[in-house]
């Protein structure tokens, strides 16, 4: 009885304060991650263009550290806008709630904040999302793989799926969506192993895949894992589908080394997140649920034709 339910306390108090709304806190996956760095570059660039400032909070992939950073940033009263790439979407929910209650405009960037991976709708009241829905991402990867098979009229078409990290529910939701779509399309999955997010893990996974299924036609995986995979499958006529749109990935698709990439303009999306946050903080009307794939429509299914003239927005 002595407990106080923070969710019902006073209700949202998100009325914009009259002072300058120009300070953004960016909570990224990790500073030592070029994807995050590019997102932040977009945030910072947009902030500058509107006379605002931006600050990077680096949890170095530690979910609990990120929770503490969000909490402390609320306490410090130094920010009007939060842009959050959640390392663990469920863990940060209470901290994000207190940020909303403190009147901070919160933009959820890239990964869903909450526990559902199949929707772009805000899962914490009062937040704005600009995310890539994992299940949609999985389905899109499957779609690209199907097109890869079709491009060479391969039937049966042998597909290997390099999963992200087995322990992460987000990755599992993506995997399930992709595998489901592939099966529905009648594709033959010959290997499904953990490929991770580094070249080295992709390399190991691919070495093992090739032992088991030397005739594999299409390999799907994170762009880093695919880079590692390509290095061990030198000379084999394999069609690669990469998740992620780095400069290197885009180049590989344009040169025809890889079949396609799930492309997102990362830096642009960082800027867009900052824009949404600043707009909200300055009292403008903002749509709460936003899909990343809508920002440059059609480009996410990044085949050679689609990516012509595009350059990636980060290195890896």
């Amino acid at each position: 009885a002595a407990c106080v339910n923070p969710n019902t306390e006073g209700g949202p108090t998100a009325q914009p304060s009259p002072k300058a709304q120009n300070r953004i806190a960016f909570f990224g996956f990790a500073k030592a991650n070029s994807f995050t760095a590019a997102t932040y570059a977009g945030v910072e660039e947009h902030a500058k263009s509107r006379g605002a400032t931006a600050e990077f909070f680096d949890p170095n992939f530690d979910a609990q550290a990120q929770v503490r950073q969000i909490q402390d940033a609320v306490t410090s009263k130094r920010f009007d806008v939060f842009v959050i790439q959640a390392n663990d979407g469920a863990a940060v929910v209470p901290a994000v709630r207190s940020a909303v209650q403190a009147g901070i405009a919160v933009v959820v960037q890239f990964t869903p904040l909450g526990t559902r991976y199949d929707t772009a709708e805000p899962q914490v009241e009062g937040t704005i999302t600009l995310i890539d829905v994992p299940t949609a991402n999985g389905a899109a990867l499957a779609e690209l793989a199907v097109r890869a098979c079709a491009s060479k009229k391969l039937d049966p078409c042998e597909i290997a799926y390099l999963e992200g990290l087995k322990a992460l529910p987000l990755d599992n939701a993506r995997t399930d969506a992709a595998v489901g779509a592939l099966k529905k399309a009648g594709m033959k999955i010959v290997a499904q192993v953990e490929g991770g997010y580094t070249q080295d893990s992709g390399r190991k996974a691919m070495q093992d895949v090739l032992q088991r299924a030397p005739g594999v036609d299409v390999v799907i995986g994170s762009s880093q894992a695919i880079a590692g995979a390509e290095a061990v499958a030198k000379g084999k006529p394999i069609l690669y589908v990469a998740n992620g749109g780095s400069r290197q990935t885009v180049t590989a698709v344009q040169e025809g080394r890889w079949f396609a990439a799930y492309y997102l303009p990362v830096r642009t999306l960082g800027a867009r997140a900052a824009e949404l946050g600043l707009d909200k903080a300055q009292g403008r009307q903002v749509r709460p649920g936003n899909l990343m794939t809508d920002v440059t429509p059609g480009k996410h299914l990044g085949t050679k034709e689609v990516l012509a003239g595009v350059t990636g927005e980060y290195d890896e």
Partner: protein
């Protein structure tokens, strides 16, 4: 406790004074309440892990036990109510902890590798139970489930913070005042001498692992309550932070020496360093460098003071 034993307190004191002077927000009630709340997860693990270290064993499975317990707790709450869920989680923690202990005692291999291997097994177990997805309590019971993470009427101090205070008080009492505590110190300090004094070394080890499992389960419940869900990857590697906290406080990794309060000071120092950075708004590029050096300075001070005369 003699003055020279308290170098680590001095380090903490210096940090607190520095932060109070450097920011207006540090010494606010809200921030102090937060700080305590932030210390809870690692703090709970540190209580159990300190006991283990004093007893001469490592528990590298604490965060995996945390995950399994939280998952079981959430699923049980769905089936039979929140109280049952909490109970099931604690029981799971105790069981897995006891299993750790039994494996260490029976295999007679160093606890470091036994608990490392079992932590892989436990994470796998959590993965199988959840089928790799997130699990939630019944929506109707969510609020009740989450109440474990709420602030209380005591100046907003949260339930988890009170839980940590209670657990650290109980484990301290066990160490200082009970015969079990004496056995723990003896087994850690010299297992052969303990055995020849009629102490059952194996059961004592199983008990400390069990306590560590319960601490991990409590931490898992707090995390699950905060997030309103549980998943297999929860709290990964937190035992490293807990071991670091214990060692920073001055508990020996060689066993036989140490105290819960030391671990709590270690947790506070780690939490404060992070909190300070977040409040100060310094350029975060240099943060890890400063953080690492501060930790070194803290343990260095403690050591130098304790061994001044030798």
């Amino acid at each position: 406790m003699r003055v020279r034993d308290s170098g680590i307190l001095l380090a903490l004191f210096v940090l607190v004074v520095a932060l109070s002077l450097a920011t207006q927000t540090f010494l606010t009630q809200g921030n102090l309440v937060n700080l305590l709340d932030q210390a809870v997860i690692v703090g709970l693990l540190t209580c159990g892990i300190t006991l283990c270290m004093i007893c001469g064993v490592f528990d590298l499975s604490a965060s995996a036990v945390l995950a399994v317990s939280a998952v079981v707790g959430v699923l049980a709450a769905r089936g039979g109510g929140v109280a049952l869920g909490f109970g099931a989680a604690v029981l799971t923690g105790a069981l897995l902890g006891a299993l750790n202990g039994a494996a260490v005692v029976l295999l007679r291999v160093h606890s470091f590798i036994v608990t490392l291997a079992l932590s892989i097994v436990y994470r796998g177990l959590a993965l199988v139970i959840t089928a790799g997805a997130i699990v939630y309590p019944d929506p109707a019971r969510l609020t009740e489930f989450q109440s474990l993470s709420w602030p209380t009427a005591l100046g907003g101090v949260t339930v988890p913070s009170l839980l940590l205070l209670a657990v650290s008080a109980v484990t301290s009492l066990v160490l200082w005042r009970t015969t079990l505590g004496r056995r723990v110190y003896a087994v850690g300090g010299n297992p052969e001498a303990a055995r020849l004094s009629g102490i059952r070394v194996g059961p004592v080890r199983i008990v400390v692992f069990t306590i560590s499992g319960v601490c991990a389960a409590l931490a898992g419940l707090v995390l699950a309550a905060r997030g309103g869900s549980a998943q297999a990857s929860m709290g990964t590697l937190l035992e490293l932070s807990a071991i670091a906290a214990a060692v920073i406080g001055g508990t020996s990794i060689l066993g036989g020496e140490g105290a819960i309060w030391r671990g709590m000071i270690g947790v506070l120092i780690l939490t404060l360093i992070g909190n300070g950075f977040n409040l100060l708004g310094w350029d975060t590029t240099y943060r890890p460098i400063v953080e690492g050096l501060l930790i070194l300075a803290a343990v260095g001070t403690d050591y130098a003071l304790r061994h001044r005369e030798e």
